[in-house]
């Protein structure tokens, strides 16, 4: 696989790991923000290759994990309305709401379909004019433009039976919120590379300027991740924090303007509730006035409530990187992949799920 296999070479990986070990002169804590990074790290068995003084925290970059319970509840309520077909990414299907999940609702007879692309949801709406097709738009800046485009298309085509429940969130405000939390100690960020293709490496610069914490935009193959870790360790040791781009083959300083323009055409920024982290200012998206007619909550008169987290569940602390999954009293006892309490366990890239599947030490 071109542009993939070259970055999985064992010899490069071994040497990068040794370099990291050589450069490390103190315990360093890095946060990999992105759930896809968590999965990649565990899938390839990278923790085995890293020195014990290097601690990798898993951050809140898992859109499923941070999607509030209220969003799932609202989706479930929508699924009970007349003639509704819910179209969702596979990631959301098993996330627990207050009483059940989309998978549970499907077992009760709700029409829930899994899609790989928002365009498939749009196509489904066109194919079945008798159904109200509601697309669940979650994801960060990588995914938001794709949702924005289908809303534009729906408007252009005059589709009456298509609506979107918006739950998209933004990454940089979350990084800021994490650094403002005194309980959390992070020496550097492995920044999400695919979000970076959209917002550009420059989007992480304010973090470096304001907090003096180095940021490296990283790709998702083993060589990409280790190179990013190496550069972060170097910057921590030399105390010269900057934004560096280790994923130049797809991330530019400026980002993807066409994608960002589309996002800005359709969405506006609002304060948003992140599960486990509370409300983070200017961290979420909603449809703007021009496109408000496509908002599923408004059209079907459904309200997203703020739902308190399950007692004992420490997903919030896990997402903040404050504790390891094993420090949560429910981990592997009451909360397991087949009966998850919180989304950190449901999402295949959630910190707890990754830990349970791959480590469990």
């Amino acid at each position: 696989m071109k542009h993939v296999e070259e970055y999985r070479r064992k010899d490069l990986v071994t040497k990068l790991a040794r370099q990291i070990d050589a450069k490390l002169d103190r315990p360093v804590t890095l946060m990999e923000v992105c759930g896809t990074h968590t999965m990649a790290i565990h899938r390839h068995g990278l923790p085995d290759l890293l020195p014990p003084e290097l601690k990798l925290l898993s951050g809140p970059g898992c859109p499923v994990c941070v999607t509030p319970t209220g969003f799932i509840d609202a989706a479930i309520e929508l699924s009970q309305k007349e003639n509704v077909t819910l179209a969702t990414f596979g990631d959301l299907v098993r996330v627990p709401g207050s009483t059940t999940s989309l998978e549970g609702r499907k077992a009760e007879g709700a029409d829930v379909v899994t899609v790989y692309s928002p365009l498939d949801a749009l196509a489904a709406a066109e194919k079945r004019p008798d159904r109200n097709l509601i697309f669940l738009a979650v994801g960060f800046e990588t995914t938001a433009p794709t949702g924005a485009l289908v809303v534009q298309e729906a408007r252009n085509r005059g589709l009456q039976n298509f609506a979107v429940l918006v739950g998209n969130k933004l990454v940089p405000p979350a990084l800021r919120a994490l650094l403002q939390d005194e309980a959390v100690k992070i020496d550097g960020f492995i920044c999400p590379g695919h979000v970076g293709t959209i917002i550009g490496a420059k989007a992480y610069e304010p973090i470096v300027r304001e907090f003096g914490v180095p940021c490296v935009v990283a790709g998702f193959e083993p060589v990409d991740i280790l190179a990013a870790i190496l550069w972060l360790v170097e910057m921590v040791v030399s105390d010269e924090p900057e934004v560096r781009n280790a994923y130049e083959r797809v991330v530019t300083w400026e980002g993807n303007h066409a994608a960002m323009d589309c996002m800005n055409e359709v969405f506006e920024v609002e304060d948003s509730l992140w599960r486990g982290l509370g409300v983070i200012p200017a961290s979420g998206l909603r449809l703007n006035d021009t496109y408000r007619e496509f908002d599923a909550a408004a059209r079907f008169d459904v309200v997203m409530h703020e739902v308190p987290d399950t007692s004992g569940c420490r997903c919030g602390d896990v997402l903040r990187g404050a504790i390891e999954p094993t420090e949560c009293p429910l981990f592997a006892v009451r909360c397991t992949p087949e009966s998850p309490v919180g989304p950190c366990m449901v999402s295949s890239e959630g910190t707890c799920a990754a830990f349970y599947k791959y480590r469990r030490e």
Binding site: A22, Y116, S117, L149, V195, T197, I198, V251, C262
Partner: protein, 79 residues
């Protein structure tokens, strides 16, 4: 967040195209990139979200190799 894979554009018509990876093809939306047949693009949720800069990719691999050769000169170049 964000599973995306590099795929090669094999067909293009306006803002829709067909991309290929390991013999698998899929329709891909090209609204966000200016890509031609033969280009590699990063595909996420059915959309191309960026072109893969081939030159930059080669440079990065070269850079890694040089880094490694520098630090471990007795082990020779990794090629």
């Amino acid at each position: 967040m964000c599973l995306a894979v590099p795929m090669k554009i094999v067909e293009r018509e306006g803002q829709r195209g067909v991309a290929e990876l390991e013999g698998v093809t899929r329709e891909v939306a090209l609204h966000f990139v200016d890509a031609q047949v033969g280009d590699y693009v990063l595909v996420h949720a059915g959309f191309a979200i960026q072109k893969v800069d081939e030159e930059s990719a080669l440079e990065t691999i070269e850079l890694f190799r040089e880094m490694m050769a520098e630090e471990f000169p007795d082990e020779g170049r990794t090629s």
